[in-house]
């Protein structure tokens, strides 16, 4: 799994990466990681293990305190602001706290990634309407997200993350606020996107999800990263890990 940073197939690579906040101890230290194009990983670890910090480096919100982070082969430490913006357009993110713009409608929130790219408004309308229908929010398309329930907000956040057909999809507890049916439906969406070539990383505490969808697991513990591969039990379609 761990290869030289700069592997041509890697979309995310980290070498000896550490991150600390202020003068505190490192939250993550000596993280080495290569995620290949089209891979699917769960990210696990106890609360405070650094899952969100690792994800935030991946979606270019946080810079590493040390080490090398490359996204799509580009060392992000040397990328200028406009280049970082262009890289972010290829990354879809589902935040644990949704991070929706509550003064705007569901439609406008989901349309955001398309509009910042300057997409034609007719195409925006077509794509957003279609996706909101798919996540069963077509009845609330024009409602401000401040009026939506937690589960509805989460679906808007997921729709916003995937509307741009991103090359990387990062999700922080994406199914935490939805019922099991919707959770399964959303996971199937992630799997479909993955089949189309999107690299997916999902941070989760849900053992059920990990069991139902047998993909490799990145596990954070004591500031370090370990990788577990699933042992697939084909008959019942469920996975365990070594």
């Amino acid at each position: 799994m761990i290869k030289n940073v700069g592997d041509v197939d890697s979309v995310i690579s980290m070498q000896n990466v550490g991150i600390r906040y202020g003068q505190g101890a490192e939250v993550l230290s000596d993280v080495n990681l290569i995620l290949k194009r089209g891979s699917f990983h769960f990210l696990t670890g106890k609360s405070g293990a650094g899952k969100t910090s690792l994800l935030s480096m991946m979606y270019l919100s946080q810079k590493a305190s040390r080490g090398i982070v490359k996204i799509f082969g580009r060392n992000v430490s040397y990328a200028d602001r406009d280049s970082l913006a262009l890289l972010r357009r290829k990354i879809g993110v589902v935040f644990q706290d949704f991070r929706l713009l509550d003064h705007m409608s569901s439609f406008d929130n989901v349309a955001l990634p398309l509009r910042v790219c300057g997409m034609d408004e007719r195409e925006v309308r077509k794509r957003v309407t279609e996706l909101l229908r798919w996540v069963e929010l077509d009845q609330k398309i024009n409602e401000p997200t401040s009026t939506l329930s937690g589960g509805e907000k989460q679906r808007v956040a997921i729709a916003r993350a995937v509307i741009n057909r991103p090359e990387i999809l990062l999700a922080d507890e994406p199914t935490g606020n939805v019922d099991s049916d919707i959770a399964h439906k959303l996971m199937k969406l992630f799997v479909e996107l993955n089949k189309l070539g999107t690299t997916v990383v999902i941070a989760t505490h849900s053992e059920r999800l990990i069991t139902d969808f047998p993909y490799p697991r990145l596990h954070l513990q004591n500031g370090g990263l370990k990788i577990y591969r699933p042992i697939v039990e084909k008959k019942i379609g469920r996975g365990t890990y070594d």
């Binding site: 602001r81 406009d82 913006a85 972010r88 713009l101 003064h103 990634p113 509009r115 910042v116």
Partner: protein, 304 residues
């Protein structure tokens, strides 16, 4: 560049709710009001100087000092006799188009601002004046003319207005400099206000801006939204300022006309001058737009 600033469509940053919007409009309103009045002043002074210059190039004044005698009538008769001789002499001089003595009515009109109504020019030992029109393209030797005239009418002297015009030009230059300083101060203060309002707003909407960045928005995308809003506020503030400035200009112009006396007679603005004053809201809109745009670009470097 300007097209780039105003090209974006959707306003994701909720700038319409900013309380600083009113402050910004008031600031721009005051700025445009002051600029408008100062600019109108400069344009009026320019027009006045041009008018004076034009009239002075083609005119001179001959003054006949009054003969003061115990017999008032005899003195007045001698003064008028010298005036007639001077008029006849001047009409013969090459380059002179006309030489017209000012009537008692004209003289009374000139001294009225200082001595008030109810005066009789013939009762006062005031100089008699001859308004001489000369050809602009024929150079006149004023020294020679003065000497020759003194032989015909010893009480006559020539005033070609150059000395007092030079003083007025210096005064007008001072006014222009003052107006320029006012304009610069107004621009600096207004730009500063827009800068700090924009920075405050960026802090207020940091959450929204970070989300926009996470969605892949470039700094330019955010800056465009601020520039669009600032240009609207700048324009509206400018219109309010202009609405206040125009009647003020008319009132000041009215005061100026009241002190006429031949000193301030051409204070009205031309159509072009009004066009320049009327363009101030567009100027304030562009200034607000550019200031906001570059403030955002400059400030966002510190953001994620």
């Amino acid at each position: 560049m300007t097209k780039n600033i105003i090209s974006s469509r959707k306003q994701e940053v909720p700038l319409q709710d900013d309380t600083s919007n009113i402050f910004l409009q008031v600031m721009v309103c005051i700025a445009v009001f002051l600029s408008g009045v100062a600019l109108a002043g400069v344009l009026a002074v320019n027009a006045m100087l041009n008018s004076w210059n034009e009239s002075i190039l083609g005119a001179l004044t001959v003054q006949i000092m009054p003969v003061v005698e115990s017999n008032k009538d005899a003195g007045l008769a001698e003064t008028l006799r010298q005036q007639s001789k001077a008029v006849e002499f001047l009409k013969q001089w090459p380059g002179v188009i006309s030489a017209d003595p000012l009537s008692d009515k004209d003289l009374k009109h000139l001294i009225q601002p200082w001595l008030g109504d109810g005066i009789e020019v013939s009762d006062l030992p005031v100089p008699r004046l001859i308004d001489v029109k000369i050809k602009k393209d024929v150079p006149i030797d004023f020294a020679n003319l003065s000497v020759s005239l003194a032989k015909v009418a010893p009480l006559a002297s020539i005033d070609n207005h150059k000395i007092w015009l030079d003083k007025l030009v210096k005064f007008a230059d001072s006014l222009r400099l003052l107006a320029f300083v006012v304009l610069v101060l107004v621009i600096v203060v207004t730009s500063g206000a827009i800068f700090y309002c924009t920075q405050t707003s960026l802090g207020l909407h940091r959450y929204v801006i970070e989300i926009l960045h996470l969605m892949g928005a470039k700094d330019t995308y955010v800056a465009q939204q601020y520039a669009r809003k600032a240009s609207f506020l700048g324009f509206m503030g400018g219109v309010y300022g202009l609405v206040l400035a125009v009647p003020t200009i008319f009132i000041v112009s009215g005061f100026a006309k009241q002190i006429e006396g031949g000193i301030i007679s051409e204070t009205s603005l031309s159509l072009t001058d009004w066009g320049i004053v009327g363009s101030l809201p567009f100027f304030s809109a562009i200034m607000a737009m550019l200031t906001a745009y570059y403030t955002v670009k400059h400030t966002l470097i510190r953001y994620m």
